[in-house]
Amino acid sequence: MDSRSDSGAGPSGPTGPQTACAGPWWRARFILSGGGALAAVCLLVAAPLNAQGLPDPLTTTPGDPVRGEAIVTDPQHGLCTLCHEGPFPQVPFAGNLGPDLTGVGARRAVPELRQQIVDSRIGNPDTIMPPYYTTDGRERVGARWQGATMLRAQEVEDVVAYLASLTGDMP
């Protein structure tokens, strides 16, 4: 496993190898992301995989909705607005392949939002939404993305916190 930091070197996610916490790779990850991440991934792999989603946060630091908004609205980082419209007046051209995120925080509970971002295939195997926090079941991943998840654990929490805050109509 690599420990590159440019696009996030996350663990294998909820359905990944249970030994992830013990591997030497994880040490590098721990150093990169700081404390809390180690405990977080152990929580993650222990989380039940059911329709209720992932109730336990991936990190001990609560998600920051302001950082989450920056990730969601950056088409080169979160990529979210490539497919989702939403209450993002700063994004001139959002795509329409996924549902509009306006009010998503009122429609979906936090564990569901977290599950959807970590690996939306859990709820819908045919989903077009990329898995943001697992390396499971991926084929032919390009060299510079090998072993890396699309977001880091804390970034997932930030995005979840931001989406959970979207409870109203367009601002």
């Binding site: 001139p92 959002a94 392949l97 077009i128 079941g137 991926r138 991943v141 390009g142």
Partner: protein, 252 residues
């Protein structure tokens, strides 16, 4: 008339079904880009002109030109691009038109080095030969020996790949017509290759585009001219059967 052609092709190629609301990349372009493609001052013209010159130019150790064997391209190459990829007897594999030009150069002209597929002269010949099929319907080669590769292309089209874990079909079948950011997703009918792509600011082949698509989903792209990309082209051409080969295509 076009419907008649479509029915003819449907008869010739049973089992390759499509709905008749197929759209091309040209159909999905805005009026300004369509106007650039239709303009006599279309920059792709340069590659067709270069190809026309190269067609009659002796090359390689045999000092033979394409014209020495094939005569006038306007006669001998008419409709050829519309049926490619085809089956190469001696290698026993499917080859795309660019691969066929390369084989011709090495077998008959004995050109010194096997040149890169992005070699400008080879792309110019590809453009010139393809130009001889402008306006003709795509008529996939029915050679049964191509069937396994075509089936492989179909499987690849539906295979999820890359960090984004997306298949071609998820965008270009399931979500064609939708918008990925500001860009309308086309139906993946390869009517316009080689094409002058504004992104590239030059002409390029279908396998360059497919590799670009794969990199877009953060996958390790298949090599230019690889059996996988030829297989994908075979499948895509079968879906596009009956659609018109575009001359001097422009794409954003």
């Amino acid at each position: 008339m076009r419907r008649a052609i479509v029915f003819t092709v449907a008869f010739l190629l049973p089992g390759l079904a499509w709905s008749d609301d197929r759209r091309t990349g040209y159909d999905d372009m805005n009026a300004d880009l369509q106007a650039l493609q239709d303009d006599p001052m279309n920059p792709a013209t340069f590659w067709v002109l270069d190809g026309e010159r190269l067609w009659s130019e002796p090359a390689g150790t045999t000092a033979q030109s394409c014209a020495d064997c094939h005569g006038s391209a306007e006669d001998s190459m008419q409709g050829v691009a519309a049926r490619y990829p085809s089956f190469d007897e001696s290698s026993g594999t499917a080859v795309d038109l660019l691969g066929r030009i390369a084989l011709c150069q090495s077998r008959h002209q004995q050109t010194a080095q096997p040149r890169d597929r992005s070699d400008p002269d080879r792309l110019a010949l590809l453009a010139y030969v393809t130009h001889q099929s402008r306006g003709l319907p795509i008529m996939p080669d029915e050679d049964p020996r191509l069937a396994p590769a075509r089936a492989r292309g179909e499987a690849l089209f539906s295979s999820r790949m890359g960090q984004l874990n997306l298949s071609c079909a998820q965008c270009h079948d399931d979500n064609a017509g939708g918008y990925l950011a500001a860009a309308r997703i086309p139906q993946a009918h390869p009517t316009g290759y080689p094409q002058y792509r504004l992104e590239w600011e030059t002409i390029g082949s279908l396998d360059r585009r497919l590799a670009g698509c794969m990199t877009g989903v953060r996958a390790d792209p298949f090599a230019p001219g690889s059996p996988e990309l030829v297989a994908l082209e075979l499948f895509l051409k079968s879906r596009a059967a009956g659609l018109t080969v575009e001359a001097l295509p422009i794409r954003p």
